[in-house]
């Protein structure tokens, strides 16, 4: 059927080239590369069945939002205790965590440059989920503030405060671990 051929071709053009991005996001949201492959496979099936609803722009952001949703379904099924973090995103954006009293990043730029890869990965893994996903979507997947705001349905200002907060938490963690 020609329609199917077209869909398969579209799938090869907009999903397959972005698998590394999809794996990166799923890896940081689920916490393991092995689980990430399962999630991305499931997300790819969803992406293919929904491919006719693809609107023709931002294929990476489109795929990543499907991956993100699939991650949450997967987490709800496999790690019901961790999904709680998703619901509590709102309470982390206020000043309860002292966003205003936040000290400047602790360590010097040099110390950050020299930090162990393992230490950086551990610091990202330790971030609360709402900060972690914004950091990964921006700094690893390379989405813009606007694309992230649209994907998460939050104001751009919230994207900015979560991103800066995430980076500061990582820097503080690196500073604590450095000798």
């Amino acid at each position: 059927m020609p329609g199917n051929e077209q869909a398969a071709e579209l799938f090869r053009q907009i999903v397959v080239p972005h698998l590394a991005d999809a794996l990166a996001l799923a890896r940081w949201l689920t916490g393991s590369l092995h689980d990430a492959e399962d999630v991305v496979q499931e997300a790819s099936i969803r992406a293919f069945t929904a491919i006719n609803s693809y609107e023709g722009r931002g294929p990476r952001a489109w795929l990543l939002s499907i991956v993100r949703n699939t991650c949450f379904t997967w987490l709800a099924k496999n790690r019901p205790h961790e999904i709680v973090l998703v619901g509590s995103a709102a309470e982390m954006d206020g000043t309860e965590l002292g966003l205003h009293e936040d000290p400047a990043l602790d360590p010097e730029a040099d110390m950050i440059r020299r930090a162990d890869t393992a230490a950086v990965e551990a610091a990202i893994a330790a971030l609360p989920q709402p900060y972690r996903e914004v950091l990964v979507l921006h700094d690893i997947n390379g989405l813009s503030y606007k694309e992230i705001a649209a994907m998460l349905s939050i104001p751009i200002g919230t994207v900015m405060s979560r991103l800066s907060r995430a980076r500061r938490l990582i820097a503080a963690q690196i500073g604590r671990e450095a000798p």
Binding site: G3, F11, R12, A20, V84, A104, A109, G157, M160
Partner: protein, 257 residues
Amino acid sequence: MTQLSPSDLLLLHALADQELDAAAALALEARVAAEPALAAEYARILALKARTKALGKPAVSPDFAARIAALAQDAEPRPAARRARIFSFDHPSWRALAASVVLTAFLAGGGTYLFTAPQSEASIEDAVADGHHRALLAASPIDVQSSDRHTVKPWLDQKLGLSPPTADLAAQGFPLVGGRVEVIAGNPLPVLVYRRRQHLISVVAKPLPNGSVEAPASRTVDGYNMVSWAGGGFHYWAVSDLDPVELSNFVDNFRKQ
């Protein structure tokens, strides 16, 4: 270590992420060059960005890529015309999703409700905070620059056909720096901009059909402090990164005028 203001911090991150417009970027770059505290923080942000980016993305094994590519042969895409079926509750993935939503809502419990419920009513507060935020990011947070209220008031009058009482609070330590127009919930509204040291205060005024009066109420929206009150035919929102005590002090002075 010098304490940087929250808005400077956000601006530094936005500069590092190339999310500022050219004029704002140039202005901030000049400040970074002149202020060592900003320069040190900026260097740290760039170092951290580079470090995170260097972690890279997982390699896609040829085996995995082939498995995904093969999906397109096995499965059948849902034609656009039948897309409505996605929303049918019979579809297993939707059942799973719905179950997970229920589970999440249940687990997250009443706490989440407390935080999300006021937000839906508070959309105008969000819009006011966003407007203030945008103004700080823009090349200039004001459209008409004047410390003279006899300039700002007619300018707003001419633009909007209405202008709120423009209080002169320079003597109290809150000089007027100008005004701008902001579109909030589809209505163009006058905004007065005051300054306290390096902090800007945006005062949004929305005309009220009746003469209702409301006492000032404080809250935090998107990390900004906000005080809202009503009186003299307007509903006001004052938003700033100024600390809550000073902002309340500002509002008290503004209302006395």
